[in-house]
Symmetry: C2
Subunit: 334 residues, 2 copies
């Protein structure tokens, strides 16, 4: 079969423990013996079994990323950031997609309880369930770092962006463009980032003496067809907005799709701002004004914090790091 530490021990007439120690560069083993072992191991191309040691050491060198979806510029860039750190540290990244399904999220987290990974990076899915499954993992002493989408009521490390402020700035830009009826496409009322963005939006309206019209706040779900219907209906209603904010990338693209179908002209009839990290936003028709999240950096920072926690097991106070987004004005709000 495959070459193990036992193969080496037998072939070199040494004890298993000697080989193990030598490969771990222990001082207990003489330089000459070490050399013999290293060279022989190299000759046989010995690679230690990935998980044998993990039993005793309780380390797998695996971390998990749990995200709603991957076909979204924010998350794919965040994965890039995370992976860049993990690769340096020699860690392996297991990716889980929840597809915004809390039950799936629960079941995934449940499986991670017993040693599959050393820690995890979590961007929670939308949906109105409880957070027990997350607290449960924290109880099991598995380090969790939230990124982008977190749970307010859980004390853990978090890497977020300035959602409230971004919502505010987005609305304010539209207000400055003389828009009077600014719609907001929300994904889920239970997601703190969406709520923060929404609160920022509302605050901007209030500050500028524009009354908040709940009919302009559209509560989308994970059902694309029904979202499309809702937005179409809005655009055809008497309450037709003159501007709209997409709180996540998918919804922003939905706006473009509906405008295309209904021949609504952006930005003439409707100004659009989207939360998105799409690098090709400027090639869209029209180019899209975005709140661009620092996706790569959020991922990178979250991973860095996770590794810090993995290295020093002293449980330090939890941190929340905010990395600001940028408002980039383009054609859709001109």
């Amino acid at each position: 079969m495959s070459v193990t530490i036992k193969t080496i021990a037998k072939d070199l007439n040494l004890a298993i423990s000697t080989v193990s120690k030598a490969l771990g560069d222990s001082h207990e083993i003489s330089p000459e013996t070490k050399k013999r072992i290293f060279e022989y191991a190299k000759r046989l191309d010995y690679v230690p079994n990935a998980y044998a040691g993990s039993l005793k050491k309780r380390k797998t060198a695996n971390i998990a990323i749990i995200i709603p979806e991957v076909a979204d510029s924010f998350f794919s860039l965040a994965i890039n950031g995370i992976e860049s750190v993990a690769q340096k540290k020699g860690f392996h990244v297991i990716v889980y997609l929840t597809h915004e399904d809390q039950l799936k999220e629960q079941s995934i987290l449940h499986q991670l309880k017993n040693g599959r990974v050393d820690g995890l990076l979590l961007s929670v899915s939308s949906g109105a369930f409880s957070n027990d499954h997350i607290k449960y993992l924290l109880n099991a002493k598995i380090p969790v770092v939230f990124f982008d989408r977190s749970c307010d009521d859980i004390d853990a490390n978090k890497v977020l962006t300035n959602d409230f402020e971004s919502g505010y700035l987005a609305a304010e830009l539209l207000i400055n463009k003389k828009c009077k009826k600014i719609s907001f496409l929300s994904l889920s009322d239970d997601l703190s980032i969406i709520n923060q963005r929404l609160k920022g939006y509302k605050k901007a309206l209030v500050d500028h003496k524009i009354s908040i019209d709940e009919n302009l706040i559209i509560h989308c779900t994970n059902d694309e067809i029904s979202n499309h219907a809702k937005v179409s209906k809005l655009f055809q209603s008497a309450d037709k907005p003159d501007a709209i904010i997409g709180s996540v990338e998918k919804l922003t693209m939905l706006i473009y799709a509906v405008c295309f179908d209904l021949k609504v002209s952006i930005p003439r009839d409707l100004k659009v701002i989207g939360f998105s990290s799409l690098d090709i936003a400027s090639f869209l028709n029209p180019s899209l004004t975005t709140i661009t999240q620092p996706a790569f950096e959020i991922g990178k920072t979250a991973a860095t914090i996770l590794f810090q926690e993995l290295e020093k097991n002293s449980s330090e106070p939890k941190r929340t790091i905010i990395i600001p987004s940028k408002l980039i004005e383009r054609g859709s709000t001109k």
Copy 2:
């Protein structure tokens, strides 16, 4: 610490083996004992250690995806397809990014030799190295399924798309639009998919009695800045093309970027076709004519084949499955 099979055995006054068998629903254990064990395990919320069993069983329930990058619609959709199958099968997906770096790819594959994963899905990176590191894994009896980017000289399961034909159709469409100087942006000469696409392109030119101008075939690399320079230079040269094919998504977006910078008007001055699975191709300015690969389905199929190989260890003859791409005509070739 965490609850193990041993905890249960001790608490219920049973042997460890009895508990293990019961949890595995073995016929050796009486229904009553099983019930006791199941209920107690449930009460303690027992989750088996992920890797303890893997030692003996030589199964980890992990598979690896090795891809050049994730911020590309093809790969992120392929991940979706793979993940959808893996989740059903109860498998966990470790994602590795090579960033088109063969050395990285080699090092990743090397680590996978000893039991970290049960099998892998591979889309090779570009670069002119050897394939020894892949053969090496196959020798170690680790199932490998290539998807999208494969190695011609390795006998393994492959899930590909009709690259040659797609290259042909792309070029032919441009020829039919009366284009005379059709450029082709190649990523790497060592990548079979790119070569196939390029061959299809050349065949179409030959069939339509257009001479092949090697100056119009631009060999890009992984260096974005130098790619940008090369394409800019092409557009400003005397050899300026009237049409161009981007052989991968990133290069297609590069075309848009350069056109924007140089104020080249698409499709008036230059018609563009890109290989891409971007679902927002129709929202680009102008909307992009694409060769759309069935990314999700390729991923899904590749995963399905991998699991088939994992289930029946009989080594059946290797298959190559071709799932055709679609040419979708949009504004950039009008």
